[in-house]
Symmetry: none
Subunit: 124 residues, 4 copies
Amino acid sequence: MEYNSSIPIYLQVMMSIKRDIVTERLKLGEKLPSVRDLALQYTINPNTANRVYKELENEKVCFTRRGMGTFVTEDEDRAMQMKAEMAQELIDEFLKGMKYIGISAEEAINLVKRQSKEETKKIS
Amino acid sequence: MEYNSSIPIYLQVMMSIKRDIVTERLKLGEKLPSVRDLALQYTINPNTANRVYKELENEKVCFTRRGMGTFVTEDEDRAMQMKAEMAQELIDEFLKGMKYIGISAEEAINLVKRQSKEETKKIS
Amino acid sequence: MEYNSSIPIYLQVMMSIKRDIVTERLKLGEKLPSVRDLALQYTINPNTANRVYKELENEKVCFTRRGMGTFVTEDEDRAMQMKAEMAQELIDEFLKGMKYIGISAEEAINLVKRQSKEETKKIS
Amino acid sequence: MEYNSSIPIYLQVMMSIKRDIVTERLKLGEKLPSVRDLALQYTINPNTANRVYKELENEKVCFTRRGMGTFVTEDEDRAMQMKAEMAQELIDEFLKGMKYIGISAEEAINLVKRQSKEETKKIS
DNA sequence: GTGGTCTAGACCACT
DNA sequence: GTGGTCTAGACCACC
């Protein structure tokens, strides 16, 4: 994994794990790698890996059992909610940003449409 | 102005000025407040105000004349371009984020549409 | 049984057994479940179950006879004493905590009184 | 400050600061020592000091301004609430513990009363 | 084996 | 000078 230096590594790893849950690469209740293994996988320091799990716990994305390891939350609602939350956050930020520079929601939608058509062409 | 603590203040102030140019609250070539006045207006440290102008100069958004002050760029193309750049950045970030959590551009557009309809309803 | 993650499981199970003795759900000299059964009952690791008995033995709350199993202490005084000890510990911790945040014993008592009255009302 | 080894140092320092706020040794909005100074004062590592402030921020007990320092919350309600919260927590834990070992609220109150009388005698 | 805490020391961005 | 992040390495309690 390549890190974007402007965003803290622990946030990037958190995002990566949340993504894996939201896209169901990780199942509910599944055991996550140990702190040490996570550190190896992402080539980060165990302390940083530890932090990742602690922050994810704060967000109720996973939970930990002493001496047993860290697990993806078993709360189905929470998992469903996560994807919606993440999408909503992106949309809000996007529209807020557009509005901030004087572009209405309709215009914004049109710009996105045009962009996505061009992308499609480029690929084909 | 309330500052979002996760974004450097100088960036927030930069955004605010760029917004004012893009939305034509500030005209091309118009004189900007002195570093001291900017600091007072935004209740920021003069060092921070200074940094704002420096970075805006780097981006060719404004220029300084020794002893005269700082001015909005007079380059019309640059100004036009700014709005497009800012919008593009927002769109790219938005689509990238959506894709990251497994949502296609079409779905993303639909979500934005639905959202903006609901907002409209709420207001009316 | 749900475990409070901030307290070691073995302590929580110890508390539970001591409670059963103090409230006479377990009689003096009564045979306790085998380590294996305890582990099943509480859905804990056998190692943890083992530790529970070891620690309880240290506190003279129970004793083990090789090949026969583990038993609640037969010492009546010890049992009487246990309840007093546990209560004392709670009181000390409570008053110490209150004093720490600047609340005197009298005030503390009044707060508890008010609280217990409200609880009674709620139930009735 | 002497540390109770069974409780994480960072929690003990957090408690100490919260106590100072609740007992008004620290005023609302007051600047707290810098991470490095806190580390010196409490003879802990700067990392640990940093953690203290971050966790206190999570609890909305203080807030931080980039490059300026960490400050006690300015929210009066939050401060008022803190003392009540802390007291409530102690009471709940106390009564829950007592109930757990089969002692009713009334009995518990009487035990506390007796205890506090004895303490008074001892001192006089 | 697991996570939790702590120290030590470094570098960085922000004010 | 301020906090934020990260690495390195250690020790501990718990399962």
